[in-house]
Symmetry: C2
């Protein structure tokens, strides 16, 4: 696996945007690996022992040593395999800092706003979440200019760290758009980001790794039905 | 400043644990810098233009280029000044990943639990926050073993990335302990972490940079009085 006697195993879940990041990064680096799909209702002993703190995927296991958290894994891949295929973070220290800043923004701001938009306790909370998503994407539009300097990707001419981090969300963005009849990454408000998203999903590495939008919609509807049933049961 | 014609400026606020991290890191690296205290009620144009996304300190400005977010700044210092004093992250890729994991845990889990413990909307929420803090510190005890491998610091024999990230909280932990009559970093439940905290606050770099606990208590009480007054005004 992975060449040079390295053994890589990825513990994942097909619908996870965070796992998708790692799949895309491994593919960009041309590293082969064994993929293990986890069952969320019955987590494997390997997952529980590899990530005892959060008990979550993705976990990358490299020659028996686990690495947890998608952004930590992406940076690990750059550092453990410096000569393999693409390098995700730029070489220049300031550009690396800017990339880390915007990658953190994806998880701290965009993901949280999206979470509130879909799982807010009230309709008001959800609407507030939607508003925060729009505001966050407007800021991310600036981030794209800052990172890409007019080139097609956050990484410049090629896909880099922030591309993979934000790109991991795109399948769920499309599922959410279809379910709500909206368009995030809207060309009217965030033209650069909208064009970037179109480019990203057309990449071979993205097409090969991204889950089908229809299946994500099915999963989301099943989860909503489950949550509604649980809420109904709780009030009976 | 900083030698070699580098000019470093740190925009900070004396009570911020995140600014404290950067002060300690700069000191460990032996880098000189100009410190600019920000007024939170009247943020400077320089802060607003340097961190337009979050409008928060710390911001480090290196030869005119801003770097925001404390963990991003710490990694930047390692990468921009590889030959200056201490190196915060270890050299080995897996050890770097483990350090980044636990540093993320400090901000994603410990800081959030602490926030809930002090600013929860109800007494029940606050009590739940306190419970989460205790659970998080018990996990961090394991993190200390994992990173230090029996040595005095997360960084081993010397202070490293996770030491600086967690150590930044210690002045506020002491202030909180004094105000609530509790002892976080309790030798009874987290003996390694308790001993680590004692060692950390005795470091010259920590003693020189840490704000006085009494002043933090004063600030916290003024904030609480302000919040209570605002709440009272809102109900009138």
């Amino acid at each position: 696996m992975a060449g040079g006697g390295d053994e890589l195993k990825l513990l994942g879940m097909w619908a996870s945007p965070y796992v998708l990041r790692v799949k895309i990064a491994l593919s960009l680096k041309g590293l082969s690996y064994k993929y293990v799909e986890e069952d969320f209702k019955n987590k494997s002993e390997l997952l529980l022992s590899s990530n005892p703190v959060h008990k979550k995927v993705p976990v990358l296991i490299h020659n028996g040593k686990p690495i947890c958290e998608s952004q930590v894994i992406l940076q690990y891949l750059d550092e453990a395999f410096p000569d393999a295929g693409a390098t995700l973070l730029p070489a220049d220290p300031h550009e690396r800092a800017v990339a880390r800043f915007w990658a953190a923004f994806c998880d701290d701001t965009i993901a949280k706003a999206s979470q509130q938009a879909s799982s807010g306790k009230t309709e008001e909370e959800k609407a507030e979440g939607e508003k925060k998503v729009v505001e966050a994407l407007e800021k991310m539009e600036v981030g794209l200019s800052e990172c890409s300097k007019g080139k097609p990707f956050f990484g410049g001419d090629t896909v880099g760290y922030v591309d993979v981090v934000l790109g991991g969300f795109l399948a769920w963005v499309r599922a959410g758009d279809a379910m709500k009849g909206v368009k995030r990454f809207d060309p009217a408000t965030t033209p650069l980001l909208a064009a970037w998203a179109e480019r990203f999903v057309e990449l071979d590495v993205a097409k090969a790794a991204m889950p089908e939008v229809d299946k994500l919609i099915e999963l989301a509807m099943a989860r909503m039905a489950g949550a509604a049933a649980a809420a109904a049961a709780a009030t009976n």
